[in-house]
Amino acid sequence: MKTANTSFECLLRRTLKRMAILSVSALTLSASAAELIKIDGSSTVYPITEAMAEEFQIAEKGKTRVTVGVSGTGGGFKKFCRGETQIANASRPIKEKERAKCREKGIRFVEIPVAIDALAVLINPKNTWVDHLTIDELKTLYAPESQGKVMNWNQVRSSFPDRPLKLFGAGVDSGTYDYFTKAVVGKEHSSRGDFTASEDDNLLVQGIAKDENAIGFFGYAYYHENKDKLKAVSIVYQGNKAVAPSPETAKSGQYQPLSRPIFIYVSLNKPTDALKRFVQFYLDPKHAKDYVSEVGYVPLPKVAYEKALNNFENEKTGSAFAGGSKIGISIEELLIAKTID
């Protein structure tokens, strides 16, 4: 009951804030046209960026407007590299191909890790048979070879009941899907095709919350908001003991291999002052600590934000990921790693 209460309070607070922003911007709209910062991309990063955007707009008293879209990490990068947005939310690093697109258009960017997410595997609270899953079992669930074949819970583990499987998961345009497939199946962007794959994480929450036989995966924040409707599965990796996803286990590095850094990419294509102010606001360790934990993610250590801001101000452009997602990389390593445009 407590969780329901807090999530309701959170919603109420957000709504009030939104109203405040609206009234403030309505007041200033007549005085001068507000500057606009456009952001699009991952639904996993969305809750953080949205919280930052709201606080930032209040702090700016309507001088700047920030819009945050959700079209998946892939969709976000497409718009970003066409120059349509100034910031891309990303739950995986930028890909080779996407970097080439940005280069083509002359868009240089800074890669900034903003938080750590424990990519959660969720089941219905009435599911009594699963208390943990191994990575191999997850692979059985989602591997391409399982398509049309693994349709029943007892095919995953023989002690599981004879019940149909209802699979859900992040949409194929999302970084969450890419990271999950890389960490679980072993190959990025490779999975079975016969499951409900949606960019809309709320739809996945609905689907799993309403079906005893369901299992799915998405970013921790959406579990954090719906703890009363979902149950998170503990994960067994390389024979270690089962670890449940939580900010603590993600931070300590115990929740492997599904905890991962999530990013924003900031365009240096004629950056406005408002954009610079927004990035400074975003990377202020105090803001990060408050708003990142508020939505259920793990803030990075203070020095990481300072280093990241430093990278932004010194225009350290490019990505530290030449070969796609790295499983289990530390943030400190990431921020000092060599980057490629």
């Binding site: 345009d173 095709g193 016969d194």
Partner: protein, 312 residues
Amino acid sequence: MSDLIKKVDQAWLQPSERFIKRRAMRAAFMKAILFGCASLSVLVTLGILYVLLSESWAFFREISILEFLTDTQWTPLFEDAHFGILPLLSATLTVTGVALSFALPAGLILAIYLSEFASNSIRETVKPFLELLEGVPTVVYGYFALLFVTPLLQQLMPNLAGFNLLAPGLVIGIMILPYTTSVSEDAMRAVPNQLREGAYALGFNRMQTAVRVVVPAALSGITAAFVLGMSRAIGETMVVAIAGGQNPNLTFNPTEGAAAIPAYIVQVSMGDLPHDSMGYKTIFAAGLTLFLITLAFNIIGQLLKRRFREVY
């Protein structure tokens, strides 16, 4: 004095040539504008058809129609891409079947009641309420199916999936009810009274008259109502997108979830598909399929409607 009156009279009764010309021009101008408005709807339809055909053409250059119609898997965005429309089609048809199996009997009973039994005052009260159902936004119907009907049905059927085709089917049935009812009621009321009087003269009671005389006489109109309702159900988007599930699943079992054609289109349009990618083209191939099905049902419905009008 009388001269002046005569002059004025003439000016009134015989308008100058200039005036007549201007009036004719104005009429022609208005006619052109009205014609433009009328042809706009036709042009828009043709434009949609053109876009659908040209984009689908690009799709069918890469995927053969045979594969499109016979492959049993639909996974266009995944690595192992399959382009079989059957799973989407099966879901669409299942939802439509459920919708009709509710709307057909309910609509018929309602129409019989309203046309043959209800007093004028009752009819005048009930009809606006029915029409109110038509005015409810479909997104509301969608969440009604997901958040109210599905949990209700799950109480009766514990094995019902969270996303299933049964709930959206029933809700779409409710949605098309006003339409099917009013069209079939019109058809029944168009049955000449002599037929009813003849039936009464032969000793039929009201029920027998309604069921054995009026309904058969209005049958083609009633059929038209349901065929038109069916084409509406097939194209209905929000309800299946919200409550039907988004997983392409070749099944005719309404207790399972599956993506219908409109639900698929909604789902892929939410991500950011690059122009010219295969995923982008599938939208149009799926859209064309939907268009052809609804077009066929509309034509059949219109033909039936016309036929029943010619009888009397």
